[in-house]
């Protein structure tokens, strides 16, 4: 456990991302990690993500974009107990609200980083009970993997140019955190 945290801290430092020290959420979870924290091409996947200033991430594969909230977001929200998912078939637009998450008695709107049609939502989030006192949803423990929220068929790939890359997002998070 200690060595996994040390590895995560070093990786976080390399990517200039602040590390969460909350017990139940892994500091930095990368695509392709297995449980002992060994990376299997994970760093490459994380660097492929794009980020919105409202702390959502998007990963594009062909015409399909997968969307979720970032590790920074889940850390600042607290234990997520409920996710309001969009309807499959709904249209989303970049920068507009597509749902909400609830944590610590606060609902926080979430904003789509891309425009298009919702083709799939994460049923793992749907199946959790409305109030799950001892089980934070995977949005907390695996924000970039199991905690994905929706998949969107994107219309205009050039929208991604307005989003931040990994380095810029990490810097943005540091600047936000320095405000208080």
């Amino acid at each position: 456990m200690a060595s996994r945290l040390l590895w995560a801290s070093r990786a976080a430092s390399y990517l200039r991302i602040s590390v969460s020290h909350r017990g139940f959420a892994s500091a930095c979870k990368y695509a392709g990690d297995d449980e002992d924290g060994k990376s299997h091409g994970g760093l490459r996947s994380k660097i492929d993500l794009k980020y919105a200033e409202s702390h959502e991430w998007v990963k594009v594969d062909g015409n399909t974009a997968t969307v979720g909230i970032t590790d920074h977001a889940q850390d600042h929200l607290g234990d997520v107990v409920f996710v309001e998912l969009p309807e499959v078939g709904a249209t989303v637009s970049q920068g507009s609200g597509f749902g909400a998450v609830e944590s610590v008695k606060a609902t926080s709107d979430v904003y789509s980083p891309v425009s298009g049609n919702v083709v799939e939502v994460n049923e793992e989030l749907n199946n959790s009970p409305g109030f799950a006192p001892h089980l934070p949803l995977p949005v907390n423990s695996s924000p970039y993997e199991k905690g994905w929220i929706m998949k969107v068929e994107v219309k205009d790939a050039s929208e991604l140019d307005t989003l931040k890359n990994s380095d810029d997002y990490a810097k943005f998070c540091d600047e936000e955190d320095a405000k208080h």
Binding site: V104, K105, T107
Partner: protein, 214 residues
């Protein structure tokens, strides 16, 4: 770097829930457009039950048609949290503030709301504490004295906290408060034996609450 921030406080007295909701919606829009500074609404409601986004109406123990007989209204909202009761002599604060501008997340904001109520209770010699995980709110032992339900939209808060000075606690019997069965609800009056709303109003606690919130 610290910079000067301002907070406008609106003391609204007793205001109907829907009126307060519409006012908050307008203020959130105005705050988002930078037309107003951070704003704090201080008020009470007539007897009102409210539900959060999850619409947990199974926690309302009285049939809706009976509500009129007890002089209460019911409203559905977009805030977080479960069912709760608001009524006269319960101090309510609705901060309309930009968390984004101060880089604050939901968790820290709610912690500050809890600390505000804990501070306030301690001013009257009542030892209160924040709830354990999943029991957000403020407790005296296992009795709940303060509730929280917040909405954050474009980084701007609405709804907020409700602190029981001396409301009619019987109204809480018609709900499972905050969805937590087997726990009591209490008030400053009950915990101190003598502090009622008049004493509370005269002691200027709103200033204390403001200091705690942001």
């Amino acid at each position: 770097m610290r910079f000067q921030r301002s907070l406008e406080v609106w003391k609204l007295g007793k205001i109907n829930y829907l009126e307060a909701l519409k006012l908050q919606e307008k203020l959130v829009c105005d705050r988002k457009a930078h037309k107003i500074p951070d704003t704090l609404l201080s008020l009470q409601h007539p007897p009102t039950y409210t539900l959060g986004k999850r619409r947990t109406d199974h926690n309302l123990l009285i049939p809706v048609p009976e509500l009129e007989k007890i002089g209460a209204e019911l409203h559905y909202t977009q805030r977080g949290g479960d069912i709760t009761y608001h009524g006269p002599h319960q101090a309510i604060l609705y901060p309309i503030i930009s968390l984004r501008e101060i880089g604050l997340g939901a968790r820290k904001y709610v912690e500050k709301l809890e600390l505000t109520m804990i501070d306030l209770a301690s001013q009257y010699g009542v030892k209160a504490c924040a709830g354990k995980k999943c029991e957000t709110g403020v407790w005296v032992g296992d009795r709940k004295i303060g509730a929280i339900g917040v909405r954050i939209s474009s980084g701007i808060t609405s709804h907020g906290l409700a602190f029981n000075i001396d409301p009619d606690l019987d109204y809480f019997k018609h709900i499972v408060p905050c969805g937590i069965a087997d726990k009591e609800v209490t008030s400053l009056r009950r915990e101190t034996g003598n502090i009622g709303f008049k004493a509370f109003e005269n002691s200027g606690p709103v200033v204390i609450m403001i200091g705690g919130v942001i």
